[in-house]
């Protein structure tokens, strides 16, 4: 079987790659500053953290909600794609391809639904 025929059978691959790429850009630009501020600098007191009320009000702003959704969901699909190939190539577990595929993209989809719920409904 040639490379082209395998690819022709999987028309969704370019779409998944696009999500991987978009997620890579979002992760590269926004994750370091987010992780630094919210996971280290604020809880450890390196920088004075905003109050709970003001952070919650900021997060409830419509534009910020959309921002947070993009910040969470696209990098999850980035993870799904890259981790899938890490398992394929790094650990050479090729016999579990289908399982890895379902685990990675299924995980990202579940994450997206949970993110949508927590950001738009429960916040």
């Amino acid at each position: 079987m040639t490379r082209t025929t395998t690819h022709a059978k999987k028309p969704y691959e370019p779409f998944l790659w696009l999500l991987f790429s978009a997620g890579g850009v979002v992760a590269a630009l926004l994750i370091p500053v987010s992780l630094f501020l919210f996971a280290l600098a604020f809880p450890l007191g390196w920088i004075d953290a905003p109050s709970f009320e003001s952070l919650r009000d900021l997060a409830r702003h419509p534009i910020v909600r959309i921002y947070l959704f993009v910040l969470c969901v696209l990098p999850l699909f980035h993870w799904a794609h890259r981790f899938r190939y890490t398992l394929y190539d790094g650990l050479q577990i090729k016999n579990l391809n289908e399982l890895i595929f379902v685990f990675c993209y299924g995980g990202a989809i579940v994450g997206a639904v949970v993110a949508g719920w927590w950001i738009f409904a429960a916040l």
Partner: protein, 141 residues
Amino acid sequence: MDSSTKPASYTNYHPRWFRRRVSTYWWMGRWPYMKFILREISSVFVAWSVLIMLLLIRSLGHGAESYALFENWLRSPAVVFINVVSLFFVVFHTITWFNLAPRATVVRVGGRRVPDLLISGPQFAAWIAVSIFVAWVVLQQ
């Protein structure tokens, strides 16, 4: 081994090719391979960072008490350790991601290839500007 001395027996024809078994740890020992694997592994820490952000958002939705509990959890030594390691990996992702762009898109101006730094440089500048902007918005609160 001399096969002619063996008793003649019929075996199914099964073509085999010589393939050296590649070790699972093939990427250890050489820096370019190691860097490749570290870059691939960075996605796990990207996912971890997203999880932290989601739990933060969840705690904001649940109220001040839940938020304080979450902040306390972030102060536990094991979580601090994981987050420091994660920060290293997500910055590694950023650097390798932007350094990849000049290789993915080769731009030629007047027949000459635009130097890598002219393509990756503005991306690093954008990264710093976006980071400062995000920090500024959060700290305005």
